[in-house]
Amino acid sequence: MSPAPVPARKLRVATTSLAGCFGCHMSFLDIDEHLFELVELIEFDRSPLTDIKDVGPCDIGLIEGGVCNAENVHVLREFRRHCKTLIALGACAVNGGLPAQRNHLPLSECLREVYQFRPGLENGQIPNDPELPLPLDKVRPIHEVVRIDYFLPGCPPSGPAIWKFLTDLIAGRTPRLAGGLLHYD
């Protein structure tokens, strides 16, 4: 794999986790010493790694997780508005993943099961604080909500897969996961 040429200016990258488990972000950190190369090429905007709260104009947006509530929809649309290239990172962003396993159950049943009937709960009730984002009736992959430019599957995608993908992208090549880097599990 040829190293990415150093771009004229650093690319601005935003990342977020919607209905995900942060596993994809952990796997991102698994590129290990390549992180040193990466910080020469990119700088972070909004991301759990920077704690910037609002996404600004970016070259690349990485989205982990599917869309399970109204806030996810809002954040995803903000990312789409601000990122030139938007990437679905990992199984949940690509097809809903584990959170989408609730899709065949009525939402009210899920909520009642967890907040009212769970053994050991006394006077349980479904939270309804107006601050809480409303859950959607079904968990959706992100391409069903906004246009997505590239998809990087895997649960999570491996460090080498993420590195290959990003170096392709930074170098201006169409990212390609060949030679055993493509996995759905």
């Binding site: 690509v94 809903g96 065949h104 599990d185």
Partner: protein
Amino acid sequence: MTKQFLLDGQPVPFEDGQTILEAARKAGHYIPSLCWHQDFPPHGSCKLCIVKAAGRHVSACATPAKEGWEVESNTPEMNGERRGLLQMLFVEGNHFCPSCEKSGNCELQALGYEYEMLTPRFRHFFPERPVDASHPDMLLDFNRCIFCELCVRASRDVDGKSVFALTGRGIHKHLAVNAESGRLADTDFSKDDLAARICPVGVILPKGRGFAVPIGERTFDTETIRSKTLKEEES
């Protein structure tokens, strides 16, 4: 003189009655398949074996080869159509590889890798398909059924039991179990049946095995479906 046709420009010999797929594989060329099995007549439902023969789209598994035909298979156009078919199969069922015991041994997934399917692309149906865990040895997870009818054919034609059938039409099509109750436990199905091992995806699964072989060390983690298929053809 043996008869021959051209597959992507290469001559492939065949005998009368042989399909494009059989002749191609025998000559060491890969054409993908999912619902086809060498021990059964072709079913022609998955269309992964699609090729262009004399300018027309045909299923290579069900079309007898013809002298002098020019057949296109491994082209960007055909492979793109295969990717589209795979994407439709993925959104039509509930295919969540990370939580599937068959992951790494699944032919649908392996074909996704082979044709570099990165996204299911379409809107997901998220159909409701409850599992049947009634049988002591085997589990049925209908979420992953692609309606290839291999289990139907194996159970009927080899095991002599007719445990399975496809029923319903369109989006309501589903695999049914041949018992008044509809439960696998109420049939004479056995873990030693051919139908118990023939499913190309993760519907018919043995209980108690699960992740005995870890993810990452399974069949298609170490080998592509293309090379595995061609190797089996040689032996």
